[in-house]
Amino acid sequence: MADKYFVSAAPHFHKKDESVARIMWTVNVALVPVAVMGVAIFRWCALGVMLTAVLSAVITEAVIQRGRGQRVTVRDGSAFMTGLLLAFNLPAHVPLWLPVVGSVFAIAIGKQAFGGLGRNIFNPALAGRAFLMAAWPQHMTTFTRPFAVDAVTQATPLVLLKEGKALGLADMGLNHFDLLLGFRGGSLGEVCALALVLGGVYLLWRGIITWHTPVTFILTAGLFGWVFGAPQGFFQGDFLFQILSGGLLLGAIYMATDYVTSPITKKGQLIFGVCCGLLTGVIRRWGGYPEGVCYSILFMNAAVPLIDRFAQPRRYGVKK
């Protein structure tokens, strides 16, 4: 009788064959369309960056776990996912040592230094990206034109908007359809909105993520951009442009929903999403950088323990 029941700490598996590896690999599958579109838009350099980032992330994780005398768990796909997400945050034509350094930082400092999967405070991929951004800004902000055979540099729509070189999409020679398909300058995994949404819908359908964080994040950032986004006055910003440009979709669907670094309860996730969206809007409009998704998520990651405490559900039968 005794071996039939066992006591373990929450959260509990409630499906029969659920596991960390299963969840991680499902997310990796959801990232496939984004990766395919990245290669289609930016050619083979994009593939090189992705392979390098993934390989170095997996190797770093294996080496550290072996060195610390732990079970090597690279097969659960979490290091794979970190590497892939980091690659999605890089311009396609970066020198290949950049993803290596970024992945090593993401896994070694962002994840393993805190104790490994489940104990990291910050999203490892974003930590790696923030480090690269602070270390080699010139590489991280040189974007290339999509579908170009030779690497022609092109600023992202948000940079053009921030520097006042364009007031709207028409000035950039783009329309919303271009943004949807990814025919614009940007990081290799953030440009194709359609593929990102496709992966997101798949994750929702499989029950890996819930709508709470991504939807509130995206809507808040979009509304903020609509209200404050235009320099000429209130309520004149471009709602769709704010949503489809930059890394908002990538961040909101795949990074802000990371199990380890986001709130547990639905209420907490709503707060988390709204705050991420507000911070993103503030950074985009008034901050020093053109895009603020990465920093707003990292910032809110630090606030997650606080949110979790605030959004604690009432225990059954106990008055508040």
């Binding site: 350094v101 400092i109 230094a113 480090f131 602070a134 270390a135 080699w136 800004p137």
Partner: protein, 198 residues
């Protein structure tokens, strides 16, 4: 003699003010961008530490307990002023690059900490040995941090360019890089210590 040697050596590794007591991080983060700055800062702090420890140990029985902190600060500030004037006169370039952090030695918590924890309770000679050891420990820690930050952050060592093929990581020259280096060094040293003790 044995006691003096012990008081002297403890500050360098075993009770290193930065790596094991985690004191004085403000100057450690601020001036460790280059090895030259680190050496200047370390020597200045060592001088102040030795002199203030000596004077405080001399007058420790005369200082009323209730106002001991202001008394320590006055003594420390005297030596900091001397250091500042010497730097301005003989090393103006170093003085410029250290900037506000030379007068800020007054509130360096290593110096006040040693005055409070050691010099106010011990005779003169051990206090001098303690000040010298702690100062050198601070110097060694600063130079170590600065070595990593200067080589990685600007690709130089003591102002000399190392390699033109290496692209320096800008972040190492900034505050986050300093925190990263200090954190990793503290972690690494504690790990080595745990290996030794087990």
């Amino acid at each position: 003699m044995k006691r003096l040697a012990r008081e002297f050596t403890k500050g360098i590794i075993a009770e290193n003010p930065i790596f094991f007591m985690v004191l004085g991080l403000c100057p450690a983060l601020a001036v460790s961008t280059s090895v030259t700055n680190a050496v200047g800062m370390g020597l200045a702090a060592t001088f102040v530490l030795v002199c203030s420890n000596m004077i405080i140990a001399l007058v420790r029985r005369r200082i009323p307990d209730k106002i001991r902190i202001p008394c320590f600060i006055v003594i420390i500030a005297t030596f900091v002023t001397i250091v500042e004037m010497i730097l301005e006169a003989f090393a103006p370039a170093l003085d410029r690059s250290l900037g506000i952090f030379v007068p800020l030695i007054v509130v360096n918590c290593i110096i006040l900490g040693r005055a409070e924890a050691f010099a106010s309770k011990n005779p003169v000679l051990p206090s001098i040995a303690d000040g010298l050891g702690m100062g050198l420990g601070f110097l060694v820690a600063l130079v170590t941090i600065a070595f990593f930050r200067e080589t990685l952050g600007s690709g130089k060592l003591m102002g000399l360019s190392l390699s033109h093929r290496f692209e320096p990581a800008l972040v190492m020259a900034l505050a986050p890089g300093a925190l990263l280096v200090v954190g990793l060094l503290i972690g690494g040293l504690r790990w080595v210590r745990s290996l030794r003790s087990s």
